[in-house]
Subunit: 238 residues, 2 copies
Amino acid sequence: MSVKQNKFLTIYHELVEAIKNGEYPAQSTLPSENELADLYQTSRETIRKALNLLSQNGFIQKVRGKGSVVLDQNKFDFPVSGLVSFKELADSMGEKPKTTVHELSMSHPKEMVQQALNLDENSLVWHVSRIRNMGGSNVILDKDYILYEQVPKLTKEICEDSIYAYLEGELGLNISFAKKEITAEDPTEEDRSLLDLEGFSTIVVIKNYVYLNDATLFQFTESRHRPDKFRFVDFARR
Amino acid sequence: MSVKQNKFLTIYHELVEAIKNGEYPAQSTLPSENELADLYQTSRETIRKALNLLSQNGFIQKVRGKGSVVLDQNKFDFPVSGLVSFKELADSMGEKPKTTVHELSMSHPKEMVQQALNLDENSLVWHVSRIRNMGGSNVILDKDYILYEQVPKLTKEICEDSIYAYLEGELGLNISFAKKEITAEDPTEEDRSLLDLEGFSTIVVIKNYVYLNDATLFQFTESRHRPDKFRFVDFARR
DNA sequence: GAGTGGTCTAGACCACCAC
DNA sequence: TGGTGGTCTAGACCACTCA
């Protein structure tokens, strides 16, 4: 019983593996789209969907008249975009993170949150505040605001593990994408008391506006990083 | 004599205008792909290319079985991605920026730059260092390293205006995309002496690895921001 | 001129949603 | 059950690059 997979995704993953294994070294070109279509017994448009994914994720660059040039992969091995949760992030950096739930409550939202989530003051919203510890220091403060309407139950245990895993796995919610905004701010009193700032006087704030599959905005997350524990990588295409 | 335009781009732009004009208000759905195909006298795949662009740029969210839902546009009016130059950025914020060229020289690159651009110590590289002044304060330090091989001439006047405009307009270089990396760092001595830090003790650093159309990496840019003059917005799709 | 990727077409079948 | 978007096909013509 094999898992059904899109053809273009299968091809994409195979090509990613091939590039990572060095079968297609940096600066070389992939086989042409027609050759790949023959190779994979599929149509050219399907190959093109796979190649566009490779291009969007920084594996290749397509050059008209020449081919698909393989890009240097050794520069970054960092999650490139997507909804990076703390757990994924720490995992990818090979650190053992610890999460402490500092607050877990349900109430009517402050105005700032009302505005972010397009709510009125009668809505009910979960407030989750979590402290992330890496290497013995509290370095990240995550504040989540989640619509009660969508998530009737939320426990300390769930928050200590991964809220996303719970929402997607247990509740079957489909998280679709996020608008992300990165700024740098002065630390608040709360930041100072909960984080080990060690003299740093700036906080890097990542605000996430999280949408469900059906286009409803349902969560607002503020992730407050000690500046030395922050890094963001992005591909900007033109 | 009309400018030749891709069909799917034309449709994309028309739909963007329609959304901005409120013809398709937030939360409503666009006409279905088949209806749009009829409307624009084109095939459904072409409509889908236009809609995918809208989706990638945060105008709509596609929901299977329902339609293309129009998203709230009023939250951000900030450049969303792309190779944002200082000039564009300042323009979009309605400020009158001033640029001072602090250094313009050509030499063999330091090791840090060699590594970023995959060069050896015999290559020649332009070093451009520019100070950006907004509201009377020096708030951004831009350091560019550009392959001499690609850009034989570079003057103070060009650097005071826009290097990108020169590269693309005069030299006909095709800048294709950039890998962007954002971190926060302690200010260097140079930062302290050139910028008006006003007590801020962190610098937000945006590193850009700029590629040409033919997939050659040709420029490395380091943009060092006073933290209160930094903001970055991104859409992360899943 | 041969080969590359970019665009476009007119069909087909499928998964999902709402009525 | 009918309409939606998601995938896939087999063809076509075009713009560009390189020998």
